[in-house]
Symmetry: C2
Subunit: 194 residues, 2 copies
DNA sequence: CGTCTATTTGAATGTACTCAAAAGCGGTGG
DNA sequence: CCACCGCTTTTGAGTACATTCAAATAGACG
């Protein structure tokens, strides 16, 4: 049990007093997951916003044909959840599953509300975090529209080398919105080019 | 000058005292734009978060080939801005332009910060607004991956009939990530089907 | 070493794009 | 009132990017 990485993450964004840190620590849950375990399942209510201490998760959606679409990955110092489900406490559209053994800090809905009350500046912190997530999400929409599959792959590889290295290629393909076969062809094409 | 729609929008989300309403009113700017005018231009710093009282705006991006990609529309009771630019006060990636004569309520960066200080629960309100925007953005990514152009169009038409009716079709096409020609073909196909 | 999963390769196909031209439509001026 | 202009939409032919399906190959792990 080590939630220090959470404080290290918060520190540059916001100052917390020792009491506030203690309160925060008392209202979150540290939990280990094994590779393959689900943090959230489609149809369940997403009970937690999660901060990743170590490991890696994927968030994905199963469409009506059973096709899996990876929406996001999360690694050390990232947040994950099905936010739509969490904020309205309604059934989740997405699954969050661990791709490695993973350590998470869980913020339950009730405790997060309580923390917002007791430490109002957390409201500010989370506003800023979500603002950045929203901006990143919009940028991804733009990339999906304006870049070819090849360029989206190169962008991903360049931006998130530490993710590309540790997850299977078919998940990268799904994240990029292409088939695993086509990503394979893109890679072999890139290899011959140089 | 009528900012009542803003208060009507806020009321179901949060209670404001008369003093708070007055303070808020004193720290925002009401402004009319003509059809075609820019609210934000690519390269400028986005000075305001904008609440739409009336009219309609498009947010778009010009890629390296000069191709326009519509990222979002905003109509009555929606928010618009280049949030990435606004939150970090750096040059904007996107343009926001009025598609009709438009009335906006402008929140400047400084005044919004001041309002957050004086009315901390506004921090909560904006957090919740951005959370919902983020969720919507993620859902759009999922739709772009899992639906065909035809189904994306049908979804858009169904969800936002009041937008589809009042804007030219080539902008709808751009928003959906397809060419205007292809959207035209989709529509004629739908017409023959029934 | 064998099994299971992930990746690669190839051929046929499909969805959406490009380019070019024609048709529709709204406003303006002769 | 009609003719013309600019802009939007439609139509068609040819093309490109990405998919599907099937089979072969490579890698990981017990």
């Amino acid at each position: 049990m080590n939630i220090q990485p959470l404080f290290d993450y918060i520190k540059p964004l916001m100052d917390l007093t020792a009491e506030e840190e203690a309160l925060l620590a008392s209202k979150v849950t540290y939990r280990k997951y094994l590779k393959g375990q689900y943090v959230v399942q489609q149809g369940d209510i997403c009970k937690y916003e999660c901060f990743v201490i170590s490991g890696c998760t994927k968030t994905f959606y199963l469409d009506t044909e059973g096709q899996e679409h990876v929406i996001m990955f999360a690694i050390e110092n990232w947040w994950t959840a099905d936010m739509g489900s969490f904020i309205s406490q309604t059934p989740a559209d997405y699954n969050v599953q661990c791709l490695e053994n993973t350590e998470l800090i869980l913020f339950s809905y009730e405790n997060l509300e309580l923390l917002y009350k007791k430490i109002p500046k957390l409201e500010r912190l989370f506003r800023q975090i979500v603002e950045r997530a929203f901006v990143a999400s919009q940028k991804r929409i733009v990339r999906n529209f304006s870049l070819s599959a090849k360029d989206r792959y190169l962008y991903f590889k360049n931006q998130y080398p530490q993710i590309e290295e540790r997850i299977p290629q078919y998940l990268v393909a799904s994240f990029l919105g292409i088939t695993k076969e086509f990503l394979s062809k893109i890679k072999s094409q890139l290899a011959t080019e140089n």
